[in-house]
Amino acid sequence: MKIRKKARYVDPGLCNACEECAKVCPVVKPDEFQMGLSSRKAIYIPFPQAVPCSYILNMDDCLGNNPIACGKCADVCEKKAIDYDDQDEIIEREVGAIIVAIGMDVYDPTEMDEYGYTRFENVITSMEFERLICAGGPTAGHFVRPSDHERPKRIGFIQCVGSRNPKIGRPYCSNICCMNTVKDTLLLADHYPDTDNYVFYQDIRAFGKSFEDMFQRSKEAGTKFIRGLPGDIEEDPETRKLTITVENTTSGRLERHELDMVVLSVGVVPPKDRDKVSGLLTLSKTSDGFFMESHPKLKPVDAPTRGVFFAGFCEAPKDIKDSVCQAGATASRAGALLNAGEISVEAITSRIDEEACTQCGLCAAVCPYGAIIWRKGEPAVVVEAACAGCGACGATCQFGAITMRHFTDEQLIAQVRAVLAENPQDKVFVFACNWCSYAGGDMAGISRMQYPTTNRVIRTMCSARVSEEMVLEAFRCGAPAVLVSGCHYADCHYINANRQTVKRMQRLWNKLDKAGVRPERLQLEWISAAEGQKFAKVMRQMEEIRETVTMEEIEHTKQALKPKPKKKAPKSKEAAAAAS
């Protein structure tokens, strides 16, 4: 792997953090670490506990580079540690495992105009609160209102800003905000016992060790917890006091509270660099946008791509303790992989027949793991250690060059023919993926759910393994209705292989329509392992479809979908030349 080490423009080995450079630097910029509540220079130490404790120069802000117009910092640096010509360094490393711990970003509340974050100076976020009350913050720990630098006496905290809100596309709980607010109220009670604190919430989630105790201590310290989220905030232009209107859902009354300051307890969002990392390591995301683990219970720190592990927020919102636990587990998993000396590969992997391969590269394009290497003019090659066995490549290859071990085309077609050998008109044919839909069928069974007995299920590892030919063969064998089912988008066990299923289904519907076959006879459903009820419902619907199909229709379908003589695989120029 290649790592870009960004240029610091200051040699950390020489810099002794004497501060002389920052004193003479004429550039003043908002300090990102202090949430813009104070300023920094173009040359600065990013935050007080930075390691190494040496200055860095932000070249985007510096005047000294383009053209050399300033250079004051270099002039005063006795150690000659400043180098304007410093360059980014590319470091190459061979690694056996990668741990993804890219953290998270904080929700920006500017879009929630009802809370007036952009309109009222005394509405701040919980991150800004953190800086204001911190001894190393811009006010040296003196908690003051931004508008007049007076100490606020009545402070309101609004919970779930950017969390548990489907309207703004963030339905998930950010996990940390409730306890962060409880901690903040305790800090205020400790520093300023005469302050009145109000917390407006929809639920307080104090589920960790000692968290309930902290919550009770906050209540005992006088914090008023009001169940209900405010609908509006108004500001008195003279006093800059804020009035909150809220429906207290415990008492059922509409309340108005006059406050000096409002703190928005903002949630967390997936990191902005998530897509870049996701593309590099072929990782998938959940519907919330955080990275998806290989299995939520059995492999909670493993990525679906082998040798990649997660730690911390990038996988899901969690507090410090859980992050530390996950980091420990991740280190152990990575250590076990590296120390084993050998790796065991999946039994179900694909194999490419070099002779039959037409070098088209389609298989490499659909592989969600990047496990197929293809170069123009050369047959594709499978990296077995990286192949997870979804079978998307096998179903995509039109020339029979790819064999999926244990789920070969011949085996699956034979199953289709065997199932439909007798009285096919009485059967609903189902392709179900191993991880979700097949397990959904099991769930329906063990839950004793009632559904028609006409369905016949064939299991494949992924719905992406079901080729067009398999579906057409089922119709040719007389199946009145065919269902292809797989995992929901966010649950696909092979990163995003089931997107290939969707593309294939679109082609099949077009094909059936063109051939004069009712496309409704082919259905697609995403059924998770927990959706036994949905499985039963879909089976009932499929039976209704089956009942509408006549024998004449089945006979017509058999004729309309008769296979055409196979076209010869076009050979590449190089292969043809070699053969002659």
């Binding site: 988008y489 997107r499 679109q506 409704e520 082919l522 259905q523």
Partner: protein, 51 residues
């Protein structure tokens, strides 16, 4: 800004036909707004025949 087009879809379970805005390159699980089925056929616009 990603390109957004209005596309037509048909539910293969209930036959409901509807239009939805589609962002180029979006990755979204589709379901019928009427019956929640996932059998959604993307009806592509037919190209006008060449004269």
């Amino acid at each position: 800004m990603a390109e957004v087009t209005t596309e037509t879809f048909r539910c293969m379970m209930c036959g409901h036909e509807y239009q939805e805005k589609v962002e180029k390159g979006e990755d979204k699980e589709r379901s019928c707004p009427k019956c929640r089925s996932n059998s959604i056929w993307h009806l592509k616009k037919k190209r006008p025949a060449k004269e």
